[in-house]
């Protein structure tokens, strides 16, 4: 069966848990490479100045060391950094990219060597044209080096722990005075609708004040059409509080 190209890679663990990893696209990778190139240039320049001291002994020796140092740094920079930082160079660290085994396993040294030596072909004819094209075509966004080394490059955006405390309320909920309506609410609300209510609360601080009022008004009116609570239960509470009470009933039962 034909598999479509996606920007995620699904991994199934032996325990049967499935999780996805976000694949890095060619542009992000190109930017990371640009940063790495700048790092190589800076390190080589500094080393060139330092090795210039040997010129006092022999100019030939000093030149040879500089040529050798540049060659060694340009070849080994990615190999050493990716090995030491488990799949990351400075550019990749800054852009939160990471080289990984295609099965999500830990990288082997031979994989790092091969993917970096294959750059000689990937970078042809200029600016990683072949590698970039391969990346666009490949369903796992792999350049030729990744393909030969069984590696992928993933993007690992910083996912901070959600504001879980907001969900752990514990305040008085007037709607809970009507258990039969609460039960009907839980029965009629779909998980998708419940998710919208929860997300609106979690992200409420990201909204402009007016948009926030309008959004909660719309959501409240939708939930009122599912289950109508008596006026004394909703008297004096804002639409946002109404949704907070609903989420409390839906998720904290």
């Amino acid at each position: 069966m034909h598999e479509e190209k996606t920007n995620t890679l699904l991994i199934k663990t032996p325990e049967g848990i499935i999780f996805s990893m976000l694949l890095a696209g060619p542009l992000t990778r190109f930017l990371a490479w640009g940063i790495d190139l700048a790092c190589i240039f800076v390190v080589s320049s500094i080393l060139g100045i330092l090795l210039g001291i040997f010129g006092l002994i022999s100019l030939d020796f000093s030149r040879a060391l500089t040529v050798l140092a540049y060659f060694f740094i340009s070849i080994s920079y990615s190999i050493v950094t990716e090995w030491y930082w488990r799949g990351q160079t400075i550019g990749k660290r800054l852009l939160r990219l990471r080289v990984m085994d295609v099965q999500g396993l830990r990288l082997q040294f031979s994989q790092i060597m091969i993917r970096n030596l294959m750059r000689f072909v990937d970078s042809l004819p200029a600016f990683y044209f072949i590698g970039g094209a391969a990346c666009l075509i490949s369903k796992r966004a792999q350049r030729l080096g990744d393909f030969a080394a069984n590696t992928i490059v993933i993007r690992n955006p910083k996912i901070v722990e959600p504001a879980l405390n907001q969900l752990l309320a514990g305040k008085y909920n007037s709607l809970r005075e009507y258990p039969h309506l609460c039960a009907r609410l839980r029965q009629n609300v779909t998980p998708k609708e419940a998710g919208i209510a929860l997300q609106s609360l979690l992200r409420r601080n990201e909204l402009e004040p007016l948009a926030r009022v309008e959004l909660f008004e719309k959501i409240t009116s939708h939930f009122r059409s599912i289950v109508e609570f008596p006026d004394e239960a909703t008297y004096g509470i804002t639409d946002e509080q109404y949704i907070r009470n609903l989420v409390d009933i839906l998720f904290n039962s």
Binding site: I11, T13, P14, E15, G16, I17, F19, S20, M21, L59, D60, F61, R63, A64, L65, V67, L68, F71, Y84, W85, R86, M100, D101, V102, G104, L105, R106, Q108, F109, S110, Q111, M113, I114, L117, M118, F120, V121, L144, A148, A149, N150, N156, I159, V160, E161, P162, L164, L167, L168, R186, P191, K192, A194, G195, L198, Q199, L202, L250, F251, N252
Partner: protein, 334 residues
């Protein structure tokens, strides 16, 4: 169905935080080693978090917690489920005298193919020069090789002083870096189903054949041997080994008669490719020094007989090394 999110979070939150702290430590301090108890706890936290991920994926529509748990699971997975053998501690001498020659012999057929392609190119280059002297300009891209061999030899033999004094080291590093780049390129071109490797090997053979025949026809065979053998005896086989690595890569890509998946085939050869490339690198470092310090000097500075004898000794040692080194260990293992 909706789970009791409050109870769920209250019960699990501390485990997620603990796992995140361990993962941050592992990622920020690659050299950090965990004690057995810590490893057990890490494994437990991974299992617990991945089970939470499964629960929340099935019973809830809460995307933020799902993404958070998914990120934790993905980060921990690579560290927990490493099933392959850990790489051995590096023993450079053992690697050089055992692993490298053994790897070479393991893929000897690819080497013979590499040799055959170069030989065909050699014959082609020789024929081209023999039948059409004008072909020299096209076949040989280097200006210093396009002149008359006899004139060059006469000029070289007039030189009595050290004409490359002060640039020997620079020359040696240039030869090393240039040849290493070419060799890596020959290996990496194997990814083009071997076509790139074959073309490069053939072209290398054409240049060699053209130069050799040009000097032989001009009656300068002795000069040719003395000029090329000290470094060429190592440099040419190094390129052939790079070609061997490229053909091994191509064979894994094509996978004739193999039932294993492409991914498995690449996994099987990856260590061998690295070994061959590193071996080629070492050979080229040696060749670079010899080319700068011996090959570029001619009679009367260094006698041709000495240079040819040096080349012959290198050849004998190289053949012995590649064919016999590391064989005793293999027999014991068997």
């Amino acid at each position: 169905m909706i789970i009791n999110l409050q109870k769920f979070i209250e019960a699990e939150k501390d485990y997620w935080t603990e796992l995140e702290v361990i993962l941050d430590k592992i990622e920020n301090e690659p050299e950090h080693k965990m004690a057995a108890e810590q490893v057990k706890q890490f494994h437990y936290l991974f299992q617990r978090t991945s089970a939470d991920l499964a629960k929340i994926a099935t019973f809830s529509s809460e995307p933020e917690i799902f993404r958070y748990l998914e990120s934790l699971t993905a980060r921990a997975y690579g560290n927990i489920h490493e099933i392959r053998e850990k790489p051995y501690r590096l023993f450079p001498l053992k690697w050089f005298f055992y692993t490298f020659p053994q790897t070479f012999r393991r893929h000897i057929r690819a080497f013979y193919l590499s040799l055959a392609i170069t030989f065909v190119g050699f014959v082609f280059g020789g024929i081209a020069i023999s039948f059409d002297p004008m072909a020299k300009e096209i076949v040989l891209p280097f200006r210093h090789l396009q002149g008359s061999p006899s004139e060059r030899v006469a000029n070289e033999e007039k030189v009595l002083d050290d004409r490359i004094k002060g640039v020997k080291m620079t020359g040696a590093t240039w030869y090393m870096t240039h040849n290493t780049k070419v060799s890596i390129f020959v290996m990496a071109s194997g990814i083009t189903w071997g076509i790139g490797t074959i073309i490069l090997l053939f072209y290398n053979g054409v240049i060699l054949g053209a130069v050799a025949l040009d000097y032989i026809l001009a009656g300068q065979s002795k000069f040719l041997l003395a000029w090329l053998s000290p470094h060429g005896i190592i440099e040419i086989p190094a390129v052939l080994l790079a070609g061997q690595a490229g053909l091994v890569l191509a064979n894994a890509l094509i996978g004739w008669g193999k039932r294993t998946s492409l991914r498995m085939r690449f996994r099987e050869i990856s260590g061998n490719l690295v070994t061959l490339v590193l071996g080629v690198g070492i050979m080229l470092v040696w060749a670079g020094f010899i080319e700068a310090f011996i090959s570029q000097y001619h009679e009367p500075v260094i006698p041709y007989s000495f240079k040819i004898a040096f080349g012959i000794i290198e050849l004998i040692l190289l053949v012995l090394f590649l064919s016999a080194s590391g064989t005793k260990i293999k027999q014991k293992d068997a």
